[in-house]
């Protein structure tokens, strides 16, 4: 399983890897928002949590269609399925690799962008923490969508449509954490986000494996 994770991480990091692209996309979207709503730092600080959360989620979704697609097309997915790992374990490894190459780098980049949005330091900490905890849920639920749309030629547009509504709790809790930190409040957003993320990571490999299995036709 570790070998599979490492293989996927290496693939993403090298030639035309999705990791750098997702980061660049994230930064580009975050740059466009002030151009759209104006440069008022008070307003930007207010919306930073939501904007960065949505941008990070879209960036992570962009890399999702590569999750199984490339392996499916060149046949390595069949080889992996025949190997010693169950499809559930494979799905978990894929989710982990996807998170390591998109969710984690996005989280690490986010404080920098948050500074550009004029977010005060306690809210930056909350944003970092919420992304660190919440992005695994994006990878996990996204993987279900990637598994379901595996055999579709142009699955690129369907994938976000089926995944985004399912991810709305992550945005709500994630951006809610930042907002309440901004107001100096304590509330239940972060524990709820943690619960959501854990549940997604535990349950998703089973749904993902079922989806992949039916597309492999076994």
């Amino acid at each position: 399983m570790t070998a599979l994770i490492l293989r996927d991480v290496r693939l993403a990091a090298r030639a035309g890897g999705s990791a750098m692209l997702a980061l660049a996309f994230f930064a580009a979207v975050a740059t466009l928002v002030p151009l759209g709503v104006g440069a008022d730092l008070r307003l930007l600080a207010r919306i930073a949590g939501g904007v960065l959360w949505v941008a990070a989620m879209l960036a992570a979704l962009l890399a999702l269609d590569r999750l199984f697609q490339a392996d499916f097309e060149d046949g390595s997915l069949d080889v992996i399925a025949l190997g010693p790992l169950s499809l559930e374990q494979t799905s978990f490894a894929k989710i982990a690799a996807h998170w390591l190459t998109t969710g984690l780098p996005l989280t690490i980049l986010s404080p920098l962008l948050a500074v550009l949005f004029g977010l005060p330091s306690q809210a930056i900490g909350a944003l970092f923490l919420s992304l660190l905890i919440g992005t695994p849920a994006v990878s996990a639920i996204g993987a279900i969508g990637a598994g379901l749309t595996l055999s579709i030629r142009r699955g690129g547009l369907i994938l976000p449509l089926i995944v985004l509504p399912l991810l709305s709790p992550a945005v709500i809790f994630g951006a809610g954490t930042v907002l309440s930190a901004l107001d100096g409040l304590r509330n239940g957003a972060l524990p709820l986000l943690t619960a959501f993320s854990f549940a997604a990571c535990v349950l998703s490999p089973f749904a993902t494996a079922a989806a992949v299995r039916l597309n492999l036709g076994s």
């Binding site: 279900i144 369907i158 089926i162 509504p165 709305s168 709790p169 709820l192 959501f196 079922a210 597309n215």
Partner: protein
């Protein structure tokens, strides 16, 4: 229940059921509408209170349709009954339709009552997300060519959505209580007077019957389409 999973038996049973259900639906809807228009205008909302009779049942059916779709998906996934797959597929556009109807009538009601077409209230937002869930389900079904494969993929999606729906509902409610102030939107008074309750109940009954009529009709259409296609394929071969 599973005795009727045989398509031939289902076709026979549904062909007798559809006219009855449809007739009853028409009667209930006509009576409900009549009572609805006969009811006195609300002391606060005036005549717009009548929108409730077409709005609230639509919302109920929209949720019921998702439940039935998920149930049919589960049966289809576990028992591999083609009829259950067809039933789930047929429920989705109806659910989307009733969701859209609920959103539109709600918006029309919100304009005179709240002074705005749309509020980011918990109910409204979670219904909008429900609509997207339906649309994603329909899109997924249409995108996969192989029918059994499409059925199973869509069933997995429907079940994942069914698990996630309560969480979405909860998170959206929680989100709106976080942002206090914009939306203190509690309907009418504490209790609905019986002049309003009766038409509402009749309309709810009518909507439910209408849903089942249309659902059965759609399932029948789907089965007949598949039969026709099989006949055509057999003719070509």
């Amino acid at each position: 229940m599973l005795r009727y999973a045989n398509p031939a038996r289902f076709m026979k049973l549904s062909s007798t059921l559809v006219p009855w259900l449809g007739g009853l639906a028409l009667v209930a809807l006509a009576a409900g509408l009549y009572l609805g228009f006969a009811a006195p205008p609300d002391y606060q909302q005036g005549d717009t209170v009548r929108i409730m009779f077409i709005h609230v049942p639509a919302a109920w059916i929209a949720m019921m349709a998702y439940g039935l779709m998920a149930l049919a998906s589960l049966i289809g996934l576990v028992q591999r009954h083609p009829l259950a797959d067809v039933a789930a597929k047929a429920a989705a556009p109806l659910g989307a339709l009733f969701t859209a109807l609920g959103l539109i009538t709600g918006s029309l009601w919100g304009r005179p009552m709240w002074g705005t077409w749309w509020v980011w209230d918990g109910r409204l937002t979670s219904f909008l997300l429900l609509l997207f869930l339906y649309l994603g389900y329909i899109a997924l079904w249409n995108a996969i060519e192989d029918e059994t494969r499409a059925a199973r993929a869509a069933a997995i999606l429907a079940l994942v959505g069914a698990v996630n729906l309560p969480i979405i509902e909860f998170s959206v409610d929680w989100w709106t209580t976080l942002h206090q102030g914009e939306s203190i939107l509690r309907k009418g008074g504490p209790l609905i007077a019986s002049v309003y309750l009766w038409p509402l109940a009749l309309m709810a009954l009518g909507y439910t019957l209408l849903f089942f009529t249309l659902w059965l009709l759609r399932i029948r259409t789907e089965i007949m389409t598949r039969r026709a296609r099989n006949l055509m394929l057999a003719g070509e071969a």
